[in-house]
Structure formats: C-alpha cells, structure tokens
Symmetry: C2
Subunit: 419 residues, 2 copies
C-alpha cells in the first residue's frame, strides 16, 4: 500500500520518498539513516508521495533501474552520478522449461545479467544513491558473496571508499571477486554472525559509513522493487498471475509484492490479482516451516544448505513474507540440496541459463509447488533467478563433466556420441 506522508518535514531530496514509516506502529520520522522505530523498535520503511507517474516517462528513461526513479528513494538527478547502471535484465519466455515442469506460460527473470551478476547490484545502487544524499562517504557491508561483490564494485565506480567484511574462512574465489575492486576488504576471524554483529557495532561508531544492509537498509531494500517493475513493464505493463521468489531475509519477496501493488495503485498496470510464492532450501527453511504450521512468527534455525546466499536463519522480513503470501493466496515451500542441484541443471539444459544455488531453489520449489497443486499450471508464472552459477561452481562440480575423452579422430567422436 502506498503510505501517504503526514506532516513530517525533511531536508533531503530523495525524489518521491517523503518519510520513513514504521511497519508495525505506523509512526513516521523524517528521512534519515534510521532503520528501527524509536517508538516500538519495528522496522522502518520508505513512505512516498508519488504524484502522477506515467508509463511514457518511465519508457523514455535510461536502460537501467533509474527509469523507475520516480518510484524509488533517490534524487531526480540520480543518473548524473556514476553508478553501476544495474537492471533491465532479460525476461526470458521459457517454453522448454515450461514443458518440463508441465505449465503453460512461464517466464524466467534472469538477473545474472547485472554488472556483478546478481540482483544485489540493484539494491546496492539504490543504497549508494540514498547514502550520497544523506551525507555518507563510505559504502560498507558484511557479506559472504554477492553483496560483497556489488558493494565493492559500486563504490569503485563511484570513487567511494568501501569497507567489506567477510568471514576469514571464505573460499578464495569469492575473496578474489571482491578484492579485485581494491576497496578495504577485511577478513574477520569468526563466523557470519560475528561479522554481522561487528558491522552493526561499526555502523554505530562511524557516522560517515553507510552499511547498506544496516543503517541505510530501508533505502537499500526498496531496490528490489525494480525486479517487480521490470517484470510488469516487460510483460507489456501487466502483472503475471504467479511469481516465485527466493527467500533469504525475505525482503525481496515483500518488495516485489510492494512493486506490484504500487503499479496497480498508480494506474501503471490494470490492478489484477496475483499470487506470490516463496522458495527456501530445506536446510534453511524457517519461513516455509512457519507457513506450513500456520504460524505468523518465524522461529530461527541454524542454516545447513549449499544455497549459501539464502542461508539466513533468522530472516528479518519473515513475518511480512507470511503476510504477503497469505494475502495473495500463495505459498512457501522448501527443497533439498539434491533438488537444488537438479534444478540448476534443468534450467541450464532447457533454457541455457546457469543459475547459482538460489536459482536452483526457485526452480526446484516451482516444480514442487506444481506437483503438490499449489501453483496453477494454467496460470502465467514468473521465476526470479537472482544470481549466477559461475559464483557457485562447487554445487555442480561433482555432477557434470565431459561426456567422453577421446583421441583426436572423427571416428572416436562419432563413437562417443553413440555411446
């Protein structure tokens, strides 16, 4: 729902963003680097005064998420500052995957085409733009992968200093893909919880450090709306019947839902019913467990899954995911690591798209939801593929390889193909 801004005033120009509003008690404060309500400790969310937004204005915009700047907490001149220009990734009509899954009309939103090959470029770009306006000078995050890449790259592009905190046990390939951008990459002796706690402490101590997913989180999170905006625009300004979204913190799912509602409320699409489905790995499925038990709170778990980019045991937006799924008539389901790997291979084999483990979770969950009758095979469905298989090669390393090794003779190749 579009929250109308009350009497609060602000000195920051963040476009249509007018205030921060508590999701729990509705209390509003002026735009600032705050993430928790001073009244009730609920999470703060951006509230807007959109005014009139027309399709033509969006279509005339740049080929990046900034075409939706009138719907985001960023200044109107956002594209005048260097940024990574994420978004406008492919929406692929997936007929071969549809046939394999037994559904009629299926689309894959392939966010591997972003600058650092995951949807994190979207949220980080919005966080950077808001942080610049709010007066920050350093971009920071705790991360084990995609977010680290995105923050280091965005800061490099903008000429900002970055501080990226990773567990010291992180695999070398993931270290390299962040370190190459030459920000301050700090390895921390501890697990990811230790790194996260350290980030919160550092955010409190350094008023010029914008931790994208901590002190500027309300702005950062809005970046995920652009996935929903793009899907609708790429479908010809209409909403799909069903969308399947992976759940880590749960923020992406709630923001895609928010995007669909805003488009309807603003008259940019014909308001129509849609159903939102959440996907988790069984090894980290607290939201799926809560959904199945009919709970409206989420009990934290200790993650144990190959889908590390989704391995958040205490998802901050879990209750809001349950709200969105229940309100729209969707569901949350979870799948085993074996199902994840098979789904990565299925997507690659049928559509030529190599997803990271999170993408495998989405595809495998869609398959399971179809099998158990919760996802309507006759309705149009969109799957969000949010990260790249090149970053999680280990998941498939033991499952795929050459069909044969042969001497350099044509007869040997023919023989191998017959075999």
């Amino acid at each position: 729902m579009t929250t109308t801004v009350g009497t609060t005033t602000t000195t920051f120009d963040l476009g249509p963003a007018g205030a921060l509003a508590c999701r729990e008690c509705g209390h509003q404060i002026p735009l600032a680097a705050e993430f928790a309500c001073a009244e009730c400790f609920g999470p703060l969310e951006v509230a807007y005064n959109f005014g009139t937004v027309r399709r033509e204005d969006i279509e005339a915009g740049p080929r990046s998420i900034w075409r939706y700047r009138r719907l985001l907490p960023v200044p109107s001149d956002v594209d005048d500052h260097p940024n990574t220009q994420p978004g406008c990734t492919r929406l692929v009509r997936a007929d071969r995957l549809a046939a394999a899954l037994g559904v009629k009309r299926l689309w894959v939103k392939d966010d591997t085409g972003n600058p650092t090959h995951s949807f994190k470029d979207r949220v980080v770009a919005v966080a950077l733009a808001a942080a610049r306006t709010l007066g920050f000078t350093v971009l920071a995050c705790p991360s084990t992968g995609n977010l680290a890449n995105a923050v280091a790259a965005a800061a490099a592009r903008a000429g900002w200093q970055s501080v990226v905190l990773i567990p010291s046990s992180l695999e070398k390939a993931k270290v390299l893909t962040t370190a190459v951008y030459d920000g301050a990459l700090i390895a921390v002796d501890g697990n990811y919880d230790d790194v996260n706690r350290l980030a919160t402490e550092l955010a409190a101590e350094h008023e010029d450090w914008a931790f994208v997913n901590v002190n500027v989180r309300p702005y950062y999170a809005e970046g995920s709306k652009t996935l929903g905006f793009e899907v609708a625009e790429q479908l010809g300004w209409r909403l799909p019947d069903q969308v399947v979204v992976p759940i880590a913190s749960g923020s992406q799912l709630t923001k895609v839902d928010k995007a669909f509602r805003e488009l309807g409320e603003l008259g940019l699409v014909e308001p129509a019913p849609y159903r939102v489905f959440g996907a988790q790995a069984t090894g980290c499925s607290p939201v799926s467990a809560a959904f199945k038990a009919g709970h409206d709170v989420v009990t934290p778990v200790r993650p144990d899954t190959i889908a590390r980019s989704l391995a958040i045991g205490a998802p901050a937006d879990g209750p809001y995911v349950l709200d969105a799924v229940q309100r729209t008539g969707g569901a949350v389901e979870d799948v085993t690591d074996d199902e994840v790997v098979e789904a990565i291979r299925l997507l690659a084999r049928t559509e030529g798209i190599f997803a990271e483990t999170a993408g495998g979770v989405t595809v495998a969950t869609a398959k399971k939801l179809i099998a158990n009758g919760q996802l309507d095979p006759d309705a149009e469905t969109v799957l969000l593929i949010t990260g790249d298989g090149l970053k999680t090669l280990d998941a498939v390393a033991d499952r795929v390889g050459p069909r044969a090794t042969v001497p350099p003779q044509t007869a040997a190749v023919r023989e191998a193909l017959r075999g």
Copy 2:
C-alpha cells in the same frame, strides 16, 4: 563498404543478406554454408541488399541484437525462435578511468552483461539463426572457453543438440561452465590445434553440423557488427573518434569497422572519420608485429600469454585488421602479461568492472597508445571489454586479497584501515 549483390539467386531467407562474396577476388555465390572461395580460396563474407533502414525501426525493436536484424544475415522472424537474446549491454562513461589514463572522454562497452558473459553470445546467436535457416540441426564448435559456454547455452535454449570439443587438459572450472548445459561436451586428447583440425574434419563429414566458427563462419562473424551498432546508438547515433578492440582472429575488429561504415553509408549516423586501434598480448602479437614492421601479411607465432581467449597464433583476419587500421589512421600495439593484470585491476578499481584477461589487454594497450602518442587524449574513445573476469580468476589470484585479517572487534578494523 556495402557490397551490392549481383545476379546470384538464393532460396534462403536471411533478411538483407543476398550472397556470399569473396574478400579477395569478389566472386559471389548464393547464400550457403561455405566459408572459402572456390575460385581463389579467399574468405567469404556476407554481401547485403539493405534497402532503407531507419533509426526508428531499430529503436522500436527488441532490447537485444535483433533490433539490428535488418543489418544482419538473419530472417526477419528471427526473434520468434528461442535464442539467448544477447546484446544491449552497458556503454559506461568512464570518467575515473579517463582521469587515470589522462584522456578526456572515455567509454567502456561492457559486454560481460551478455547471457554467458562474453561477446561470443552475439556471434553464436547469429550463427544459430543462420544455421537454422540453412537447414542445420546441430550446433558445434572447438573452443577453450567463452565460445564453448556460448554454443552450449544457445543450443540448450533452442532445443538443439550441441557438440563442443575441448582439449582434455582444460581447467575444471571451464569444463563445468560448459558441461552444465548438458550438450555433448567431448574432451579431446591433444592441444587446441588438434581440436581445431578435428572440428574441420567433422564439419566435412557431417552435413547437419554447424560448426559456428568453421562452416557457418561468414554468418557468425557478422554478429560482431552489433558491438559497433550498439556503441553508435548508445552515443546518440554517432561514431566515436577512436575505438580500441582486442585481436584474436581479428574478426571482431574488422566487423566493428564494417559496422561503422555501414551506419554511415545507410545514413544512420553522420559519416565521420574514426580511428580503429588493435590490442594484443605481447605473448601472441603477430598482428602488432606486422603493423610495426610495416608488413601487410602476418607471420604466425606460437602463443604464450595469460590472455588465452586472444591466443590465436595465426589470426585468419590479420591482413584485414592491418587494412582497417591503416585506412582509418589507427595502430596496433601489444602489452605484457604484467601490464594485462595491472590493467584488469585498474579497470576494476576505477569503474567497478571486472574484465577477463582480454579486457586487460584492451585497457593496457589503450594506456600504452596514449603514452606513445598514437591515441589522441583529446578525442572521444571507446574501449571494448568483451569478457568477464569471473572466468579468468587465475590472472589476479596472486595479486589481490584481503587488506587484513582481524579479530571481530571494531578497534581491530579501525587499526587495519589505518595500516
């Protein structure tokens, strides 16, 4: 130059493509899966009857290379068949890199955003479209990297069988990123020359196999024109003053030049002088050596460089590269592997773009051409970054890493940042 088709007739609908013409003797034959002139053994190239092509028609097209279908050897309904939808990648204004290099106006064409993260998706998509029209049913190639990924992915998406031949010594990561698409990946005991020779033999024996870079090469090569088309369109329908292009076979450079000429001849841009520069790694620099020696033929070399995607010791289009560079007033230069790695890091640090070794060759060569006065620092320049750093992590593995490893305490982080 736009070659006008003579009296030859053809039964294939490949859009504006009218014939194949020999680059050496001009002899024309009807459109077919041929790559060498029967008269003089010169290479065949697609000849067109363009008719009228308007900017509005292109701008109204899809957000992929198929917006340029009226300028490519593909049928008018090309986008009705499943393909990977490559192209429309970012053209990034690179002010921070410009400052580091000492030039005024610099752009980076970032082709890492393609479906399998290199420009090969462009050429393979055109090869697939032409191969379908010409009656092939299998998509094939010999490759050590980017091309293997692109062929396997495109075939999977189209529902075609693929046959990809690789040397059996290829690193596991490169094997995985092709094998995941589940085509027929065949490891060949031999070096890349053995694999290439095997491909040519197999192409002769199997009339339904389209080896993208062998028997359908004239169509495949045209795909590189889309890099030139996009740069011009993204600059607001005008040509840059200077462009720096990496050289492997040399085809990409000649096709970017061809694209710029076609745009001028068709009135899609104001015809204006531009200069084309070629970039090679010193460890495989036969074209640079010929340019510097003033030769018009290229003497083959045995490659020894980390820039493996450019390591073609006998570049088929070498003489045509020399033609294009000399005609436009450009140059060819080469850089050491150390310079390549430093340039990868420079591009990442200044613009947040992580390029593969070929991209390092382009940036390092631009730097050298500026230093030696061949590239005009006051003229607008475009650098082509054609592949992704995620695929050549080894190049930077020993050079980058965390700034420090610390205990999970804020004081330790502050201390590390001071150090």
